[in-house]
């Protein structure tokens, strides 16, 4: 089969929009649910006592397994609870990674609430921003797990291209490109975080 490496690289970069799209959803869910849970945990000792072990258990569940579990839920043809609704690959990735982002943001916010002795969510939004941005990038990397369930994101697109290749050199080139692409994205993100941290340090 004939293929154009440049076209494949282009397709990988374009399809990475799905990774960003999923990562944004994960972090938004994390912010909303994690923030709410943080307020509950800070104000109620009972809720805190209940949620702490639940979070510990959830933290130990590998996102990869959670993703497969979600995909297996519901009847094959009748959907979840016979509603016709099916969890697709993208949703499975978003939900499985949201568990991580929710717990991370909730823990971070509760710690800051205790430090400041007040439960001001708006203030936490800006204070947590660099850490949440780091979490966002980790989630961006984690969304590549979607390739295992057929989500056409950057790694998934690369794997499909690799599946149709016969030359090992080309396969290595394509996977190497994805590795460099993700690593470069991380470096840009780190640089961005350091700028924000410096700005925030300057304003305090």
């Amino acid at each position: 089969m004939s293929y154009n490496l440049f076209e494949i690289f282009k397709a990988i970069v374009i399809s990475s929009h799905l990774n960003w799209y999923m990562a944004v959803q994960i972090i938004v869910i994390g912010y909303i649910i994690g923030g709410m849970l943080a307020v509950i945990r800070y104000n109620s000792k009972l809720a805190s006592a209940f949620l702490t072990p639940v979070f510990a258990i959830l933290r130990y569940a590998p996102s990869f397994v959670v993703m497969f579990f979600l995909l297996a839920l519901g009847d094959v043809e009748k959907g979840l609870f016979n509603t016709g609704f099916r969890i697709n690959g993208i949703l499975a990735v978003v939900i499985s990674c949201s568990v991580y982002s929710t717990i991370f943001i909730s823990d971070l916010t509760v710690a800051n609430f205790h430090k400041r002795n007040s439960a001001n969510l708006i203030r936490q939004f800006s204070e947590n921003f660099p850490a949440v941005l780091r979490c966002f990038f980790i989630c961006f990397l984690s969304t590549a797990a979607g390739a295992a369930v057929g989500v056409p994101e950057a790694l998934g697109t690369a794997l499909r291209a690799v599946n149709s290749m016969t030359a090992t050199g080309d396969r290595v080139l394509v996977l190497g490109f994805v590795a460099v692409f993700f690593a470069a994205s991380m470096q840009v993100c780190n640089w961005f975080i350091s700028i924000i941290e410096r700005r925030l340090a300057g304003t305090r």
């Binding site: 130990y60 397994v65 497969f68 295992a148 599946n163 396969r171 290595v172 994205s185």
Partner: protein, 554 residues
């Protein structure tokens, strides 16, 4: 003399013609009687059934009486299995819906279709929600205990493996570590799973074809009837080919064991008539499915040996089920008791396929062993790469430091799944395909990923402490032990990624078991619980070492 010879010769010719005519008449006479045999038996059974319900429908009526009484034959059918049965604008189309209509008209009742899935078709029949299943149901020895199959069968197919034309695959052992798309519930999947093939499960054949089109899988396995039109399409002709197949499985209609005996007998006669008259062959031809089985059956049932009521009992005329018997586990009775207790207590039908058959149980045990070795291997690899990266990043030599930093940045920025696939590709290119090598390459990849993060943390600790003087790597590891343990735990969480390259750890093993089972939820619940327990164990061990190290440092 010559005239008398000619007369004598024509007499003999005439005599032979008469003889042939007589033989033909004698030979044809029993055949006609046998023709009548099937039709007569059918009408006799139907008349008796009608007589049973002449005074109303008794509540304890059997399936045949119920069908004749209500005037409806409730048929369980599938969708998404073109050309056998598929839905178009909400209407069921294909060979099976048309066959159901033909059967209905022969019995003199209307057909009421009910959509079933591979997972629920047999329970729906068992619950009496349908009278008969006509839903691409393969007749296997293991299903014989769950339903009564109508014979003669209406079709037969075999599972075939397809893939790119440029690859040469002559058996399942050559697919080790490769990705093969399969549909759930197909019992031949276990033949691939036993060869460490990575199975990607899809719900329906249409999804499998879509996954092949999207190149999610390089290879696919399904019934030849489904894949044949796909291979002959303009899009894939010459690009995808059939490599090898497994033994054929006859497809049969099925009735309930408890009250379907008479209905089964009626349907058997109808099927024999439809084969004999070539109705099924015509139907197959209309929908362009491979006709070899249907042609064979037509020849068989129109011949002298089978075209009779006795033919329905003869092993020469009807096929047996495909042998899919798998030996149960030694503790199967206990498993059944637990399932029974759960159902009686909660009403929930628990499914534990991994403990029911020996094959599935062995897959699970193998998965547990491999997961355990991966936990240890990944932890060791993480520690090794932590030390290596920390040493490189804090090296005094500028070149070593630069290379170390670049490698750490690259590893930290790569999704772990990509690293696992990359390491596997490199290993399989340099070394021959081997399951142990895949295992080791996965350990190395997970170790590199987590070791990069932990190594960076150790290097930071060394940098901070070195203000007061030269600091050893060991002291750096001790100082950054909380970060190191966090990434040791993370390495255990990353183990399921190895399943993507065909390492049958627990996620892979349960995925393989799910491929031959009809229930996936309970399997994944178990998987989730197992991994949570496993990671908790790693956390506890890491906590113990953390405590010990802190005490030593103090």
């Amino acid at each position: 003399m010559s005239v008398s010879l000619e007369v004598r010769q024509s007499f003999w010719r005439f005599k032979w013609l008469v003889l042939c005519f007589l033989i033909a008449c004698l030979g044809a006479a029993p055949v006609r009687a046998q023709d009548g045999g099937l039709e007569d038996e059918l009408s006799r059974l139907l008349q008796r059934g009608k007589a049973d319900v002449a005074n109303g429908c008794p509540p304890d009526a059997d399936a045949l009486a119920r069908v004749l009484c209500t005037g409806k034959l409730r048929v369980g059918m599938r969708v998404g299995y073109a050309p056998f049965s598929y839905s178009e604008a909400g209407v069921l189309k294909g060979i099976e819906p048309e066959l159901a209509q033909i059967i209905g008209s022969r019995i003199g009742v209307s057909v009421e279709p009910t959509v079933t899935t591979p997972a629920n078709r047999l329970p729906i029949l068992g619950d009496g929600k349908v009278d008969v299943l006509l839903a691409t149901l393969g007749h296997t020895t293991s299903r014989d205990g769950q339903a009564s199959f109508v014979r003669p069968h209406y079709y037969s197919s075999r599972s075939v493996v397809i893939g790119p034309a440029e690859s040469a695959v002559d058996g399942p052992e050559r697919l080790q570590g490769e990705t093969v798309c399969v549909t759930t519930g197909n019992w031949t999947n276990q033949l691939l799973a036993q060869n460490n093939v990575r199975l990607v499960l899809v719900n329906a054949p249409a999804d499998l074809i879509e996954f092949m089109r999207m190149k999610v899988c390089r290879y696919g396995m399904q019934d030849d009837v489904v894949l044949s039109p796909f291979l002959q399409s303009d899009e894939f002709r010459g690009k995808l080919v059939e490599y090898f197949g497994f033994s054929a499985v006859p497809w049969g209609m099925a009735t309930r064991i408890s009250d379907g005996a008479r209905l089964n007998r009626v349907l058997s006669i109808v099927m024999a008539i439809l084969h004999r008259d070539g109705v099924l062959a015509q139907l197959g031809s209309k929908f362009s499915v491979p006709l070899s089985f249907l042609d064979e059956q037509k020849t068989l049932w129109s011949g002298k040996g089978c075209n009779s009521v006795e033919g329905l009992k003869s092993d020469k005329c009807i096929l047996g089920p495909a042998n899919s018997t798998v030996s149960p586990t030694t503790f199967r009775p206990f498993v059944d008791r637990v399932k029974g207790w759960v159902e009686a207590t909660t009403g929930y039908k628990l499914s534990l396929p991994m403990f029911e058959t020996q094959v599935a149980y062995e897959m699970l045990i193998k998965g547990v062993y491999i997961t355990a070795s991966l936990v240890v291997g990944c932890a060791l690899a993480t520690l090794l790469f932590t030390v290596m990266f920390a040493a490189a990043v804090s090296s005094r030599r500028r070149l070593v430091r630069a290379v170390g930093k670049a490698t750490v940045a690259l590893a930290m920025g790569c999704p772990v799944l990509l690293l696992v696939i990359f390491a596997n590709l490199i290993t399989m290119t340099i070394l021959p395909p081997d399951f142990v090598l895949r295992l080791i390459s996965s350990m190395v990849a997970i170790g590199i990923y987590n070791g990069a993060f932990a190594g960076a943390a150790v290097a930071d600790a060394i940098k901070t402490a070195s203000v007061q003087g030269r600091v050893s790597i060991k002291a750096g590891v001790v100082a950054a032990w909380p970060e190191v343990t966090a990434f040791l735990i993370n390495s255990a969480k990353g183990i399921p990624n190895a399943s993507v390259v065909g390492v049958p750890e627990m996620a892979g093993a349960l995925n393989d078991i799910a491929s031959i089972s009809t229930d996936r939820v309970s399997l994944y619940v178990l998987l989730l619980m197992s991994y949570v327990a496993l990671v908790s164990m790693v956390v506890a061990i890491a906590g113990y070492f953390k405590k010990k190290l802190t005490t030593e440092v103090v």
